[in-house]
Amino acid sequence: AQTVTQSQPEMSVQEAETVTLSCTYDTSENNYYLFWYKQPPSRQMILVIRQEAYKQQNATENRFSVNFQKAAKSFSLKISDSQLGDTAMYFCAFMKSGGTSYGKLTFGQGTILTVHP
């Protein structure tokens, strides 16, 4: 079974600054996906960024980037130029690759990020 651990229950950052959220995972699988999902207060969860384990290049999406260290089983999210709208709960998630495993996400406990003006 897979486990996902987010060791930072809460983080805060000033607007326009950079913040990094940590995530570690444990798996015996070789092929898998890692995700960061964002859950704003009282709104639906949305995908922020996705990383395929077979890709060595770290994924980036505008102000969001990841640092994927496969050997260390680490998957951190960096948010640059933080904006007030980034305030949300952030979940790291793991999913095996292929077949009926698609969609079976294992989530971490979440990190509450607050962006201050």
């Binding site: 995700f35 979940f91 979440g110």
Partner: protein
């Protein structure tokens, strides 16, 4: 494109009562999921459907929870009888198909259940 619709948004019941949640996925999405999110925790998968068939219900407490997806579109999740520990947000999500290239799930806003 309309998103995943869920109702009701909020429900308060007493223990041992029953409750039902409804979900309408994004049109054309073959796969539908129900997740349970207890306060302070990450979501946990309860059941996964592909079209109207169950793919995975290994973490569904079958003595009290049931779910169906008739005609491969809408889905209903029922709890009977409810326990205090069932207080949570129930999230419905959909995705285009199993084996799709992205694995991205589209979530609804959730149904918050409080059991007194």
């Amino acid at each position: 494109e309309a998103g995943v619709a869920q109702s009701p948004r909020y429900k308060i019941i007493e223990k041992r009562q029953s409750v039902a949640f409804w979900c309408n996925p994004i049109s054309g999405h073959a796969t539908l999921y129900w997740y349970q999110q207890i306060l302070g925790q990450g979501p946990k998968l309860l059941i996964q459907f592909q079209n109207n068939g169950v793919v995975d219900d290994s973490q569904l407490p079958k003595d009290r929870f049931s779910a169906e997806r008739l005609k491969g579109v809408d889905s209903t999740l029922k709890i009977q009888p409810a326990k205090l520990e069932d207080s949570a947000v129930y999230l419905c999500a959909s995705s285009p198909e199993i084996g799709g290239p992205t694995g991205e799930l589209f979530f609804g806003e959730g149904s918050r259940l409080t059991v007194l």
